[in-house]
Subunit: 590 residues, 2 copies
């Protein structure tokens, strides 16, 4: 396939080969091992990224390599972006059921010469016995009606949203809903019964847009540069495809039908929702990072190529501003930060980290977003991986050894976010790195190699499975934590909140829920608030999506949150650089 | 092209070869002349339809003929369904302007770090100065916004429908609207300025569905039998294509842009609107002829594949019942039959004829539909043609000769509807046919041939251009007029209206506007109402569409007409057969 790199070919074939730079030869994530066949010569960027040993073992960067014959190659597990452990659960509170879709069991009489009313008038006539007032059909529902009448022998279920008849289903089909947390890296979806409020299934998948870049900015650039050649279209299409597939699998798993899905609620950051809706993103990709639309939207699911009840809508929760999107609103909603009487800081740490501060004493909420990067999800870290089987998730140092636990108790293949936090915290506690994050070379366990200084977390066996943390990794982690700490500090500065005033810290998201909070404070990812209690809220954004799916009142509350919450653009703060530099330090100082 | 008849091949090539039966070998309308090449053998149905002379001259039925080599063939003008004179004008009254779309000139400030609001919030902020209250964007409009801002240097026009922002256009673009009268045979479209109410252009086209059958029932059968093989899809696609094309030509002719079209209003009979919307028609094709939807609908134009302002809607006026659709409501609206204090009968004579009776003294309106067939539009009549150039439109007999006038003063090629009325009326006046419609063979001018009895209207020259009326033609005309008279009589019977009570007769539609009313009464197409005045209302359905396009109040009035008007199913009347038989008679008796 001349002109097509192995990376592109793999993507086209649906293989989720990892890439943080979107194929720009800079991230070195797409390593493959060529087993057999002729390839294009090794490029300069590969020589930088791969050491001699790797090259001798056949390692190449898939983005730099072109097949000159039929090829056999192996994709190491680390290069594969798949099968990630997702945080599907959130808080367990549920609000009162008040779904936007009602269902009615209908029995219509056959038309006769004496009663030749239109099919839809026959249905509305029946419905008006139970729900008086004007009703009207969605066009798709109207198309479905005649066969619904015929197939079900004139006894069937109608779904109504407000005053619109949106679809029909066989007798006794309570309407279903799907809630989706559309993350930059992960997508979580829940199938819910809109009548009982019960969860009928849950699924997690990697966001296939990861192919086009790990972080939001890389994807936006891909979409902007690719406009005309379908850059945005690919990002839009791939995420719609996976959502459609997830909905199908959920419905199949529950033994139900797609036509019974009468409502969908989606949350995501601004870039994710823009790409899903195919909204323009050019203005979002450059300062001052302006969304096209930030308010809530109701869109017919068919306009997003989703195959559900014909007139069903997708409800997108509102966002706040910049990249602070609907997922953040959903997090505030689910964690109840808008309702609390405590001075609260809420964080959802991810590739982008959103932070909110609530000052009930000032009747104030303010949010910001920091580009913390994928370091805590395994990106830009030598042996960093996502939370897959074999990932080291906890680390403890003793005087002489390293104790660790891996996901699934499998042989170690790398470090996931919580493992990285633990490892760095332990290195700092044991004095192997200093406050500025520099390895102390004099320490016995710190190895100095040609490639740099490093610490071995797992030795591995037979030259395989060795897991290290390098000075470069620490640098990346410092950048990430610096951004997050700068965000927290800027919000506190802006709202005149002193550390001792903070009463509660809510940590949402998979990462925030799995980390050892003491270690996160120890290595300075989180500030030390003397009077605060810490709460790990799980996937609060996902829970917020389910709450809004099940209740119109929660949708109104979400809109109120969006309206009430101020947006702080971090990069405009004069103090940002100072706060960022301070935030990079390894210390408990706020 | 084996397996494909010349008729089908012509249709595929976009040639509008005439067919009343939809290719079922029964109507004999699709005559072609084979000039050169090998064809399949002559079929039995062709031997019935064509006489020896025709066969010797190379005539074949295109539906029966398959090419066995490259073919050269000629399509006689009579077999071509094209370039028809349409009735585009209606009454000239216009109601107060109250369009459903408003426009606002907008000037937004560029986003800054201090004001990073979403683009749409910037627009809504500006709009709220002039139009307070909640506004929200259509998804298509939201997609259009960023480029609208960039291209127009932040000064542009917004179109708003109720509270929805539906699209953007360059500065100073008043919104346009399109009104469409979607007839079984003809489609008329008007481009209107929604701010001034002025007409910017008008166009008439044949309904391309004519390819699949002249009358509504043939097309419905085609759609029903073709489901799964795209029967309905072809009918739906072809009419959407021509509407899209007509809108393009209108906009181009007016020097405007498609994106400025912010509203569309469509009227048509029930079958036409169902096929346009791709609604199910199976239940409409069989007794009791039940529509899927009869009420008014607002549908995004993009759902009908029409390329206009992104969030613009198509408004379909409501219908009454059975085949009595939105065009009839529009006719009542434009002719003011709902408002009149006179006892009134309104007729729109076409392939389907709709009739309404208004009894203001009883606060009653009632409508019916009769399948009058295409005889008055030239169908099922030997030399019947549509109102094209060369069609005989008036006929007068003297003792020794026939005087006639053709459209465009061209050599006669056939008889159009008004010519047929005149000819039959004159034949009856001069006693050449009797009350039962039989030619008097004893009359000198009545020729008796092997093929039947006939009268020569035009002699033609050199064996070409001879135009006749045969006994069979009279039979067809009798069936058509019988149906119409039965409809009128049934309505009068049901509403207990005596002939002398009728104060006004409104004739709408092209045919009703061009005919000589005295002759129509003479030959008994219309009853003789001693105390009635006759009003020829032109294309009242089209005018009604324009009125509803320009005014929301007229849309409400249309809904009131649909709600108030009873529907009479003709075929259920016990008296129908008797009324039909009586109506076939040539006499003035009511």
């Amino acid at each position: 396939m001349p002109g097509t790199s192995i990376l592109e070919a793999a993507w086209m074939a649906g293989i989720r080969l990892s890439s943080a730079c979107g194929g720009k030869e800079t991230c070195s994530r797409c390593r493959v091992v060529i087993l057999d066949g002729d390839t294009s010569p090794v490029k300069a960027n590969e020589l930088k990224a791969l050491d001699e040993k790797d090259l001798n073992r056949g390692y190449r960067l898939a983005c730099c390599t072109y097949a000159l014959s039929n090829l056999n190659f192996e994709i190491p597990e680390k290069s594969l972006a798949g099968d990630v452990r997702l945080q599907l659960d959130g808080l367990t509170e549920t609000s009162a059921l008040d779904p936007s879709v009602e269902s009615f069991e209908i029995q219509v009489q056959p038309p006769t010469l004496e009663d030749p009313r239109a099919d839809i008038d026959r249905v509305i006539g029946w419905l008006n016995q139970k729900k008086p007032g004007a009703l009207y059909p969605d066009l798709g529902a109207a198309r479905q009606l005649s066969s619904a009448i015929l197939r079900n022998n004139r006894v069937f279920t109608a779904y109504i949203r407000s005053r619109e008849i949106i679809g029909f289903a066989p007798q006794g089909s309570p309407p279903l809903g799907v809630a989706i947390d559309l993350g930059t890296t992960k997508i979580a979806a829940w199938l819910m019964d809109l009548v009982t409020g019960k969860e009928l299934g849950a699924l997690g998948e990697l966001n296939p847009q990861v192919q086009y870049g790990d972080d939001v900015m890389t994807r936006l650039r891909y979409a902007i540069n690719g406009s005309g050649t379908g850059g945005g279209g690919k990002l839009t299409g791939s995420v719609r495809d996976i959502i459609r597939e997830m909905i199908s699998r959920l419905v199949e798993g529950a033994g139900r039908a797609l036509g019974e899905i009468a409502d969908i609620c989606i949350v995501g950051n601004t870039a994710m929702t823009h790409l899903l809706l195919d909204l323009p993103v050019r203005q979002l990709g450059f300062s001052p990072y302006v969304p096209s639309v930030a308010r809530s939207l109701d869109i017919k699911a068919r306009e997003l190529a989703l195959d559900v009840s014909p007139g069903a809508c997708v409800h997108l929760l509102p966002g706040i501003g910049g990249f602070v999107g609907a997922d953040h609103v959903a997090m505030i909603l689910a964690a109840g930060i808008d309702l609390t009487e405590r001075i609260t800081i809420g964080l959802d740490i991810g590739t982008n980290t959103e932070i909110v501060i609530k000052r009930p004493d000032k009747d104030l909420m303010m949010s910001t977003s920091c580009p913390s990067g994928p370091a805590f999800e395994g990106g830009h870290v030598t042996d960093g991986i996502r939370a897959v089987k074999g990932a080291i998730e906890t680390v403890r140092l003793t005087r002489d050894s390293v104790e660790y636990r891996t996901i699934g108790d499998a042989p170690a293949i790398g470090l996931c976010g919580s493992g990285i936090i633990d490892a760095v915290a332990e290195l700092y506690k044991w004095g192997l790195i200093n406050e500025r994050g520099r390895f102390k070379r004099c320490e016995r366990r710190v190895l100095t190699k040609e490639s740099g200084t490093e610490f071995t977390v797992a030795e591995g066996k037979d030259g395989k499975g060795r897991v290290v943390i390098t000075q470069k990794d620490i640098d990346h982690i410092q950048l990430a934590k610096g951004a997050i700490r700068a965000g927290i500090a800027a919000l506190m500065e802006k709202t005149e909140t002193a550390p001792e005033m903070v009463e509660e810290v809510v940590l949402a998201g998979a990462f925030g829920s799995y980390i050892n909070i003491a270690n996160a404070v120890e290595m300075g990812l989180l500030p030390w608030f003397a009077n605060a209690r810490y709460r790990q809220a799980g996937n609060a954004a996902g829970l917020g999506a389910r709450m809004a799916l099940l209740s119109r009142k929660e949708r109104i509350r979400a809109q109120q949150i969006a309206d009430r919450t101020g947006y702080l653009e971090l990069t405009t703060r004069k103090s940002f650089k100072r706060l960022f530099a301070e935030g990079m330090m390894f210390s408990k100082k706020v």
